[in-house]
């Protein structure tokens, strides 16, 4: 059989889901457009960061502040969470038991929270070393970029909890399904942003 056309970014539910799949096209496209706008937002913050690299004003710079090991762990956590969210999407698409779906979602949430924990720990150790945002243009730019991603992850986490709530309350109706699919896009998108942060801020900052 020929492969069905992909209607929108992210995992497609496929015809087996009937009207839910029909409804997905518009909603997912809308969300994808939003993500593109968000991508520009991040891009501008990146640009600010790059143009502020030398604006340390005599304060601490990347080498003094970044803890690459911790950041590496964060990266691993986030990558893993992208994968587990993928498993949740598959569980949704192939109509496995609800428990399995929720299970994968919870695992994702735990990974996300762990990521945030490490990140906050990083920030606090930067603070201890004098790396506070009001110290210099460079640090301001840093604390714009990285926490902005962190805030997105936090929002994703809250959204995830709400979706689990909706699954429990309403089961897998159209709205819940589309919610999960959009969150999946969001989560994978944040992963991409993180790769940029990991490479541009941390790896390049330490070369």
């Amino acid at each position: 059989m020929s492969e069905q056309a992909i209607k929108h970014p992210g995992l497609n539910l496929g015809p087996a889901h009937g009207k839910d799949d029909e409804a997905a096209g518009t909603v997912m496209f809308g969300f994808w457009v939003f993500l593109m706008s968000d991508a520009i937002l991040f891009a501008m913050v990146f640009a600010t960061y790059v143009t502020s690299l030398h604006a340390t004003a005599g304060g601490p710079g990347p080498r003094d502040l970044y803890d690459i090991k911790s950041v590496f762990i964060e990266t691993m956590l986030l990558l893993a969470s992208s994968f587990t969210f993928g498993m949740a999407s598959l569980a949704l698409k192939y109509k496995h038991r609800k428990a399995r779906l929720i299970g994968w979602m919870v695992v994702t949430l735990v990974l996300g929270v762990a990521f945030l924990g490490f990140e906050l720990h990083d920030f606090s150790s930067m603070f201890v070393k004098g790396g506070v945002p009001s110290r210099s243009g460079f640090l301001s730019a840093f604390f714009d970029l990285v926490p902005l991603h962190g805030l997105h992850v936090t929002a994703g986490g809250i959204w995830l909890i709400c979706l689990v709530g909706q699954i429990v309350r309403y089961g897998l109706d159209t709205k819940t399904k589309l919610g999960i699919m959009r969150l999946a896009l969001f989560w994978h998108f944040l992963d991409i942003v993180w790769i940029a942060i990991f490479s541009v801020v941390y790896l390049a900052g330490l070369t």
Partner: protein, 700 residues
């Protein structure tokens, strides 16, 4: 940050506009205090009067359930335009005050420098963000879904939320008249002037949060429009069959989506500087104000094309309709629109040629700016070819369109002059620049919106506007504009900087007076417009056009009754060509009764829009005044409302086939009874909205 004490943050008695006048009653303080207090009282009295009237006539409930909570794109569109008009009234008064001050400005004048600075800052901010943007968003909201044969936009509740955000931002600007003072940093609020150490008051905070709310609203609107045009087109409405106004709406939406983020970043960073002592744009500690200029204009330049493109769309519709002819060069016009949208992202540096970057950069961006003249020129020529071998009727929308072409070509030419870094080095930041942008914003954007207002008003309200007073107003506009702004070109070349409250150079005076008189003529134009509205409402019974097609329209928004049913079309039309409605009329399928009707599903009313408006307004107000408990409370409320909305089910309702049939038959009956009229009579009361087709080559 202390979140409990004091409970009202920075808010104090001295925040009221008459405080200074009472404490230090000097002559200047009294004049400025009286003007400020007068303006504040107008806002307060207006608000109180509104509340009283609504209560007296028991209109709260209808207002709430028919308007504020309505997800209907047509009602949302009208509410946008209402916001635009209210804000415009204020910005206009400010404009005339500024022109008056400058006419008397030799060595002084009557306004204090600070007051003048607030005037240009609020005027600019309002005109761009709370007049032009809501106006065009409203018009697009009203017209575009019908032009593509849709029942509504893709996300109706989101649409209502966007409206709420815009309204909250507008309200914040209005409140700044009464409590505290608005920014004095101009509409682009360059730091470090707007940083905490140079502007410690609440002004820049008002500006930041008003822009943030409006910007967020516009981003969401842009997404909504773009998705609607991509996904909701009626069957057969291929890309190359879309009306040109819809094309411009699409390109505007795309610019909104991609141009707002830099603004969000710039204002958010400025806020962090001001609230938490970051160093993005400060002089000291590695801050770099040039980043702000760069970010702001990355948004600011595309923004001016957000404003102009829908106006171009309007002119395309009116010129073709009132020339009785298909739009010439449709494909070129579409390509030109897309070209402008893309090019608008490549020229932002022309707003700071004088910042000091190297000549290569200046030359590249200068040439890129000129490139925009190419697609714009194509548009102008194609409109002219549309009139060529047409039958041009001088109705009010058409007079605006003609005034537009003449004046906009001049304004565009002054833009091209500015795009020469060599010339810009001489006229940047002078009133030459002020003349340029009014020369494109007024004949371009404002005339476009006025043209749209006269064109689509009968569709929205079911009766035509008074033609005679419309014409008087239009002519006053055109000549008033020439008088008010052409002298500024000369003044700018004579070295008068913009934002100047007073001057000592006597040679400026005659030209300043010309400009003032021009502005007064514009004021007359506005009064004529209001008078026209009043007359039209009074005589509405004579001017009804229930049948819905008063101007021999060409696109689908004319293919239903005026005003249209809430679901727009009883049966979704099937499109077979460009100018879909004209084609349907020619083939005799414009007014048919279908055999069967089906149930129509519509979104239920939702309180999300007004709720978000209230919450975001209170949030922003708390931020401005450092009332932290309010900020936290509203922040939580915002999140809670979104979560609750996530849990909402049962959000749709059904209009029964029965009802649809009834309403549709009522309309078709009216069509059957109406007599079709020729275009010679379109401005008389025999026009009930049924147009006779005028055929090829034959002139009756």
């Amino acid at each position: 940050m202390n979140i409990v004490d004091p409970p009202l943050g920075r808010l104090q008695w001295s925040s009221l506009p008459f405080w200074d006048m009472l404490q230090h009653p000097t002559k200047g303080n009294i004049i400025n205090g009286l003007i400020a207090t007068g303006a504040a009282s107008l806002v307060v009295i207006g608000a109180i009067a509104l509340v009283v009237l609504l209560t007296k006539y028991k209109l709260w409930r209808p207002l709430w359930s028919n308007w504020l909570t309505s997800p209907d794109h047509k009602k949302i569109g009208i509410m946008y335009v209402v916001i635009a008009l209210v804000m415009l009234a204020r910005a206009l008064i400010e404009a005339v005050l500024m022109r008056g001050q400058q006419a008397f400005g030799l060595g002084g004048g009557f306004l204090s420098p600070e007051h003048f600075a607030q005037l240009f800052s609020t005027h600019g901010t309002i005109m761009i963000f709370f007049m032009a943007m809501p106006f065009l968003t409203g018009v697009i909201n009203y017209v575009m879904p019908m032009q593509i044969g849709a029942r509504d936009v893709s996300f109706p509740v989101l649409n209502s939320i966007s409206l709420g955000l815009t309204a909250a931002g507008a309200a914040l600007v209005m409140v700044s008249l009464v409590i505290g003072k608005f920014s004095t940093g101009g509409w682009f609020g360059y730091p470090p002037y707007t940083e905490a150490n140079f502007s410690p008051g609440v002004g820049p905070d008002y500006w930041i949060w008003a822009l943030s709310l409006a910007g967020l609203g516009s981003t969401l609107t842009g997404i909504n429009f773009a998705v609607t045009i991509y996904k909701e087109r009626a069957p057969g409405m291929q890309w190359m069959r879309m009306p040109l106004f819809t094309w411009t709406a699409l390109c505007t939406a795309i610019i909104m989506i991609f141009a707002m983020p830099p603004l969000t970043v710039a204002t958010a960073q400025l806020a962090l500087d001001r609230y938490l002592g970051f160093h993005y744009f400060t002089n000291a500690l590695g801050g770099n104000m040039m980043n702000f200029a760069n970010l702001f204009w990355l948004f600011g330049h595309p923004e001016v094309y957000i404003l102009i493109l829908p106006a171009f769309g309007v002119y395309s519709e009116t010129i073709s309709t009132f020339s009785g002819k298909a739009l010439f060069g449709y494909r070129s016009l579409v390509m030109a629109t897309m070209a402008i949208a893309l090019l608008s992202f490549t020229v932002w540096l022309h707003h700071f040629f004088t910042m000091g970057q190297n000549a290569n950069i200046n030359a590249v961006f200068g040439i890129a700016s000129m490139l925009i003249g190419i697609p714009t020129g194509v548009k102008i020529y194609d409109w002219m070819w549309t009139m060529f071998r047409g039958r041009v009727r001088f109705t009010v929308p058409m007079v605006y369109a003609l005034g537009f072409i003449v004046l906009f070509v001049l304004g565009g030419m002054s833009g091209i002059l500015l795009a020469n870094p060599t010339i810009d080095y001489q006229v940047h930041n002078t009133v030459f620049l002020v003349a340029h942008f009014h020369n494109v914003a007024v004949p371009g954007v404002l005339f476009g919106m006025l043209s749209a207002y006269h064109f689509w008003f009968p569709k929205a309200f079911g009766f035509r506007l008074n033609e005679r007073w419309g014409m008087i107003s239009a002519l006053c506009w055109i000549f008033g504009f020439v008088g008010a702004f052409f002298p500024l070109y000369a003044l700018g070349i004579m070295g008068l900087p913009r934002r100047t409250v007073a001057y000592t150079e006597a040679r400026y005076v005659p030209l300043e007076w010309m400009a003032f008189l021009g502005a007064l003529l514009i004021l007359v134009a506005l009064l004529a417009l209001l008078w026209q509205l009043w007359l039209s409402i009074r005589d509405r019974a004579d001017n009804r056009v229930f049948v819905g097609d008063p101007w021999a329209g060409r696109s689908l928004e004319w293919a239903n009754s005026a005003p249209p049913p809430e679901y727009n079309f009883a049966v979704i039309p099937q499109i077979e060509s460009r100018d879909a409605f004209t084609a349907a009329k020619e083939q005799g399928r414009a007014y048919l009764r279908p055999d069967t009707y089906v149930d129509i599903e519509l979104p239920k009313n939702s309180a999300m829009g007004p709720a978000i408006a209230a919450i975001s307004f209170a949030l922003a107000f708390g931020l401005v005044w450092h009332i932290w408990w309010l900020v936290i409370l509203c922040f939580l409320a915002a999140i809670a409302s979104m979560i609750i909305r996530g849990f909402a089910r049962d959000t749709r309702r059904i209009v029964s086939a029965q009802q649809v049939r009834q309403e549709h038959h009522r309309w078709i009956d009216a069509v059957d009874q109406a007599t079709a009229i020729s275009r010679a009579d379109e401005c008389t009361s025999v026009n009930v909205g049924l147009a006779r087709q005028e055929a090829d080559g034959v002139v009756p």
